[in-house]
Amino acid sequence: MRPADLLQSRPEGLYCPPGDFFIDPVRPVARALVTHAHSDHATSGHGAVLATRETLDIMAIRMGEGFAGSVQPLRYGERVAIGEVATTFHPAGHVLGSAQIEVERGGFRIVAAGDYKRTPDPTCAAFEPVRGDVFITEATFGLPVFRHPEPLAEAGRLLQSLTQFPERTHLIGVYALGKAQRLIALLRAAGHDGPIFVHGALRRLCDYYAERGVALGDLPDATIERGRSRDFAGQIVLGPPSAFASAWVRRFADPLIGFASGWMQVRARARQRGVELPLVISDHCDWTELTTTIDELDPTEVWVTHGREEALVRWCSLTGRPARPLHLVGYEDEAED
């Protein structure tokens, strides 16, 4: 069997003809398998959605209960027949509920990893290596300049700044799904057990993580009455990136603005955002993780989806692995890293 008979790129996304389903389609389709609930992978309007319980719950929180005609929750490791293929979801280590999707037919196996990382993260199940004939990898940080530092040390830098500038509110930009909860968990692990204030847009997802057993500690609302801006002096306040372009920022006295993202590794990116405290914390693989994962899984062929496909394909060719870019459209490079 040719690999493209099992999975192929279509404008809607990655399509499986013998199973008649799409993986992470960006337009409404009859049947969608969704790797995780980030908005560029999980869209509304599909006839049926198959995903992990957590991904379906988060999609409902973000898009409302009627986001799809029907939903079917799948457990990690559960083998499900769809049409002529068997599919299995495996943990991807990216955010809560994130999965790799294994598609198998007649002993031929493709693993679509979706977004994934290998760095330990207490807020979601760890990436599980699954061998297949074809491995489909993302390449968000697919350049050899990306080698993420130890995340706990980055959290430590935030805490150090808090002791150096105890009169300033430390306002940190985080993506609502995954990064917010990960940063909170890192701060807890680094010994910060005081309150961490959260913007309203982060509230429901933080509550959901807590419901699913991810301990995040005391997370009061970052709401202030007029004239009480000093109440937040020396506190950590988390907000989504969109809030930093709005009037919300002004409520805080003398804010020190930070941002937690893998992009912060590149100084020009951090400067572009006007960030005073760039924190290099990523929910994606860095270059080392990408290349060691490919080495470890040793697939016959590598397909590269969104990100810096060119560099990763180049690396594969240097190491003698057949590889090609998939040129899928619609995945935003920096939407929710």
Binding site: Q164, V266, A268, G274, E276
Partner: protein
């Protein structure tokens, strides 16, 4: 090295002066000797390593990384040293990840100092293998001489003063006699040693500054107690020639001798003169500030520049003469000594700032309103009995600037601010009407308004956006709908870098003209009329068509 790299990282992203100060002071408290001294020297750029050319970094990296992957990475990162620092792979045969190693800054600098020019690349390579990513970046910026963290020498000295609880003028006085890593200085600041004795030949003496004249000040001042002088629009300097040393200092104590060898060569006296650095035109008249800029911020200066823009010192004050400190003396005594000295100086390089005949404040106001030279930016008043006191002492010296120029311009673009102003549209590009009825952007201003006005403009920008490009919004700017800003500025020069052909000096928002329809704002022609005459033989061919 890690602690130093952390400091650089934080400094590079911290915009506020006070924030930078605190970061440096904390570093001085935490880092051991001699690291903290080397750290300060790196920041003030008194540490000269320049061991490696940037091109060499690239070849070091591409020996280990595929050239195509390097090119893709450099393209993405945009800075060579940063790309090399991030991409640097472990040496072949070494374990990954490397065992944590954190050589001290002092050790790294000793290693580099000990290496010959020929050995330098290999030494840098071996250091890169021992360091983490952010330390590698710090190292590469040090060895290529590209360290820029937005900290002036003055700010670093202020941090030393804050750290030791001494006055910054004490640091400034000592500075030029000290060499990195400044151990006697730190011993004194720690309270473990005597204050170092200023050992420099031709040391800098901290400068005396004037207060801006307040509206009611003149009512309380007697004209007879003061002398008046023009305030020249050049660079305040201190020319020192003592014990065989000759130096020209900026008013913050930076040594700028290298850019003005013509003036330094003429310092054949034993004295310290406070004055204004100006450049002359071939006809002997004083050139404008934009001509002076041709000579500033250069390490070396070409023969053509020496000829075209010869440096000149207009003397204001005498701080030291023939081994005697004149600073405690009254101004009049110092002035008499200055006049005596100036009689012996090369008139092609030096002259005296003339005293103005002022019997009443009306005389002074008249002079200020119509100065005889375009290079005058106002008048100075100095108490006849004032000693020379470093800093800005109250009640002794006053400056009274000419009214700045103002124009009414139309807001065209607004950009989101940083730091404290995150979330506000606080940087404004404004334009003037051209003859074809369109608006030409003429400048940018981001201060001059109150917090309340900032909120008003911000609200207006959000409600009148026509287009968005990243952090920038274009706003409605039509003859009958838009926002008029009264913009004040200090001077004007022709510029090939600005689309309008003119560049403003220190533009700022002086008033919001909510009342004025944009159609009644000024034209580019009005602004061009304020341009100084082009110097003879220069620039006339560049006037706008």
């Amino acid at each position: 090295m890690r602690r130093f790299a952390d400091l650089l990282e934080r400094l590079a992203f911290t915009p506020a002066r006070n924030g930078k100060l605190r970061l440096i002071v904390d570093y001085l408290r935490e880092a051991p000797d001699p690291d903290r001294g080397w750290g300060i020297a790196a920041i003030t750029r008194d540490l000269k390593l320049d061991a490696v050319k940037p091109a060499l970094l690239r070849s070091l990296a591409t020996e280990r990384v595929d050239a195509e992957l390097f090119a893709l990475s450099y393209d993405f990162v945009g800075d060579l040293a940063e790309t090399v620092a991030l991409i640097w792979p472990p040496a072949p045969g070494l374990p990954t990840p490397m065992p944590a190693s954190d050589p001290s800054l002092g050790e790294v600098i000793d290693t580099l100092h000990a290496a010959s020019r020929r050995e330098a690349p290999q030494v840098v390579e071996r250091l890169l293998d021992r360091l983490g990513g952010s330390e590698r970046y710090a190292l590469l910026k040090l060895v290529t001489g590209g360290l820029r963290v937005g900290v002036s020498a003055r700010l670093a000295k202020q941090a030393l003063a804050d750290f030791g609880g001494v006055d910054v003028t004490e640091i400034e006085e000592l500075w030029h006699g000290l060499a990195p890593p400044y151990q006697p200085l730190f011993a004194w600041l720690d309270g473990d040693g005597e204050k170092p004795v200023s050992a420099a030949a031709a040391p800098f003496r901290p400068v005396m500054l004037a207060h801006a004249l307040g509206e009611r000040d003149l009512d309380r001042m007697a004209p007879g107690d003061f002398v008046a002088e023009w305030k020249w629009d050049g660079i305040r300097v201190q020319a020192v020639s003592e014990a065989g040393g000759r130096r020209l200092y900026s008013r913050t104590g930076d040594d700028i001798s290298g850019a003005f060898p013509d003036l330094v060569a003429a310092l054949d006296f034993d004295a310290a003169i406070d004055g204004e650095l100006l450049v002359r035109r071939p006809n002997g008249s004083i050139a404008t500030f934009s001509d002076l800029q041709q000579r500033l911020n250069r390490k070396t200066v070409s023969a053509a520049q020496l000829r075209r823009y010869p440096a000149h010192l207009r003397a204001y004050d005498l701080l030291q003469a023939d081994g005697r400190d004149l600073r405690p003396e009254p101004f009049e005594t110092r002035r008499a000594a200055l006049e005596a000295l100036s009689a012996r100086l090369d008139p092609g390089r030096f002259d005296l700032s003339p005293l103005l005949p002022v019997e009443s404040w009306e005389d002074l106001a008249r002079l200020r309103a119509a100065p005889p030279d375009p290079v005058i930016e106002g008048v100075m008043l100095k108490r006849r009995d004032s000693p020379y006191v470093p800093g800005r002492p109250k009640g002794l010296w006053f400056k009274w600037k000419r009214d700045p120029h103002v124009i009414d311009a139309v807001l065209m673009y607004a950009q989101r601010g940083h730091g404290k102003r995150s979330g506000y549209y606080s940087d404004y590009t404004f334009g003037l009407w051209t003859s074809d009825g369109s608006l030409a952007p003429v400048g940018k201003a981001y201060f001059g308004f109150t917090d309340e006005e900032l909120e008003q403009i911000d609200r207006w920008v959000r409600a009148n956006t026509t287009e968005r490009f990243g952090p920038v919004r274009a706003v409605r700017a039509e003859p009958d709908h838009g926002l008029v800003l009264e913009v004040a500025f200090e001077g004007l020069a022709r510029s090939t870098r600005h689309r309008s052909g003119v560049a403003m000096r220190f533009p700022r928002i002086s008033r919001l003209r909510w009342d004025k329809p944009p159609g009644e704002a000024d034209t580019l022609e009005t602004l061009e009329a304020l341009l100084p005459e082009p110097p003879q033989g220069l620039g006339s061919s560049r006037s706008p068509a």
